[in-house]
């Protein structure tokens, strides 16, 4: 059985995107994306956990019976998250102070168990890890875009505190987009998250429709070519 790696990448990043298509993991998505930096940090932490759990769960899939799989998966996920939590606390302590509450909650992030159930528990190790990586990167991308929009409209800055996450070399990312901005508080509050999320979902559908329209323009030409 060959594995379609190209398809895994495509589905993870776009077609089956965690947030925009599956609408999973909305809780952290809406809660942490008050700034782009927070979104990036949360996304990367989740990606790390997704890759690790994809690897572990895919390895134990032959040993775990059908009846006990959910508790076992959750236990493995919780262990991985605890490790990630401690790593971030130790090496990125300033970011930990911002994201602190949300990192242990990655355990309950439905996308992790969702991928474990739907993918890693039935597939080989390498595709499972790649699936985790791509799902995680797709998740991160949405979180960053959502965070950017909310941060620009909400407080007029972009990637504030990025140096906490990425180190001083990335301090240049920290921009003040609108100087002397009074702030549009609702964008930082949960309703703003829902609003931007809704518009992003609509945008994805528009793009998908447009792609489909373009593809459908190509297909008839091929049909004509065949009999000739």
């Amino acid at each position: 059985m060959t594995t379609d790696y190209k398809n895994i990448i495509k589905e993870g990043l776009w077609g089956n995107n965690t947030v925009l298509s599956q609408q999973l993991a909305l809780c952290p998505t809406l809660a942490v994306t008050t700034t782009a930096t927070n979104g990036l940090g949360m996304g990367l932490a989740t990606t790390l956990v997704l890759v690790a759990t994809g690897w572990i769960i895919s390895m134990v899939r032959g040993v775990v019976t059908q009846e006990v799989r959910i508790p076992v998966f959750i236990l493995l996920i919780a262990t991985t998250v605890t490790v990630a939590d401690m790593i971030i606390n130790a090496f990125l302590h300033d970011l930990y102070k911002v994201l602190g509450l949300f990192i242990p909650l990655i355990v309950t992030n439905c996308v992790i168990l969702g991928r474990a159930e739907a993918y890693a528990s039935r597939q080989k190790v390498l595709p499972s890890m790649l699936d985790g990586l791509m799902m995680g990167l797709g998740f991160t991308a949405v979180l960053v875009v959502l965070g950017m929009i909310r941060e620009i409209i909400g407080s007029g800055t972009l990637f504030a505190n990025a140096s906490l996450l990425l180190g001083q070399t990335f301090a240049f990312l920290e921009l003040t987009v609108i100087p002397n901005y009074k702030g549009y508080l609702i964008m930082i509050l949960p309703p703003g998250g829902f609003l931007v999320f809704g518009f992003l979902m609509a945008a994805k559908r528009l793009i998908d429709q447009e792609l489909e329209r373009r593809n459908s323009l190509v297909i008839p030409l091929k049909v004509i070519d065949v009999p000739a």
């Binding site: 009074k182 549009y184 508080l185 609702i186 509050l189 309703p191 609003l195 809704g198």
Partner: protein, 359 residues
């Protein structure tokens, strides 16, 4: 005469002449006296604010209709966007800057109404949605209640000064404004004063609040003119008595009970009815045909809910005024109320079975 030549007319053969545009026209007519008084009381800046909100609402509606490939003029011509914009403007602080009006008007129409599918589809009252959004997003600008500056009085800004106030703002606006009576009451109560002390110190007179010579948002100051407009709507059968009556009765009942229990801590019912947006909401906002229940009993429950939540927020909440939140919360319950209080279908029992043939 050949019967077949007659045009075929299908039922219903008797219908009321009410249309969306006639309803909206009547609502605007009912709001006119209170609006005119608001413009008189707060001068040209208030007028500018009304025009800006109306313009952005109508333009926002037109753009949305265009994007959704709907016919523009029939929907624009029904006047619902004008009424929404009008109501948004009336709940704003009268000297608010122009961008408050623009954001409010656009939010009400685009997010509050058109995103849900346009007229008749919105679960929440668009005007209240915009007002609550503005209050949460711009707590500073939305709570500057300028003192009355009646037109033609010496301290009233001229038209040019009015434009300046709306588009550039006023230096030291705090100097010519004060807390609304509800807000003042709340802060003073927290400081440990009693209700009679506070009212005596702030020159509160029920008559002023009734006629409207107090500060407050654009139009909620004049209880009398709002009542007049509301009664006009009742007389024209645009609204029914259920929601205004049950809402105001609940506020009056709760306020009286608590006032009797402890007059030092709880202010009396008259104060609650005459100040803030109680009358405006009871007659013009909670009665919105789209977002309130359909049955009479449902409307009464809806009104009681609005009144109770309003009183609770005003008395124990952190905001001095809770009408907007009350209406929105009850809007959210409207589908549930309508689900459980369905009227009996004509010719069927309450459980939906056909009626037995009586012989």
């Amino acid at each position: 005469m050949n019967i077949a030549m007659l045009p075929t007319v299908s039922g219903p053969h008797t219908h009321s002449t009410a249309s969306v545009s006639s309803i909206m026209g009547n609502v605007i007519l009912a709001l006119l006296p209170a609006t005119a008084f608001g413009v008189y009381l707060f001068g040209w800046p208030a007028f500018n604010l009304l025009i800006i909100t109306l313009l952005t609402s109508v333009v926002g509606e037109a753009i949305c209709l265009r994007i959704m490939h709907k016919p523009i003029w029939p929907f624009l011509g029904d006047g619902s966007a004008v009424v929404t914009g009008w109501l948004v403007a009336l709940t704003l602080p009268p000297w608010a800057p122009w961008w408050i009006a623009v954001i409010g008007g656009l939010f009400a129409i685009v997010i509050g109404k058109q995103l849900f599918g346009g007229i008749g589809q919105n679960p929440f009252n668009p005007a209240m949605l915009a007002r609550v959004m503005l209050l949460i997003a711009f707590p500073l600008e939305m709570t500057i209640w300028v003192n009355p500056h009646p037109l033609f009085s010496p301290n009233s800004p001229t038209f040019i000064e009015g434009l300046y106030i709306t588009f550039w703002g006023v230096e030291n606006i705090e100097a010519i404004s004060s807390a609304s009576l509800l807000g003042h009451l709340k802060t003073q109560l927290i400081l440990g004063h009693t209700v009679p002390e506070i009212l005596a110190a702030s020159n509160y007179s029920p008559l002023d609040s009734l006629i409207g010579f107090t500060n407050g948002s654009f139009v909620e100051t004049s209880g009398l003119l709002l009542l007049l407009g509301g009664l006009y709507l009742l007389a024209r059968k645009i609204i029914t008595w259920h929601i205004p009556f049950s809402m105001l009765a609940t506020v009056i009942l709760l306020a009286t009970i608590f006032n009797e229990y402890n007059p030092d801590r709880y202010v009396n019912a008259l104060f609650h009815v005459l100040n803030g947006g109680a009358l405006l909401a009871a007659f013009f906002i909670a009665t919105d045909l789209v977002t309130s229940p359909a049955t009479s009993l449902g409307k009464i429950i809806f009104g009681i809910g609005c009144g109770a939540i309003e009183y609770i927020i005003r008395t124990w909440g952190s905001f001095p005024e809770g009408v907007g939140f009350a209406v929105l919360l009850m809007n959210a319950l409207t589908p549930l109320i309508d689900h459980y209080l369905r009227p009996r279908i004509y010719g069927r029992t309450w459980s939906g079975q056909p009626l037995e043939d009586e012989k």
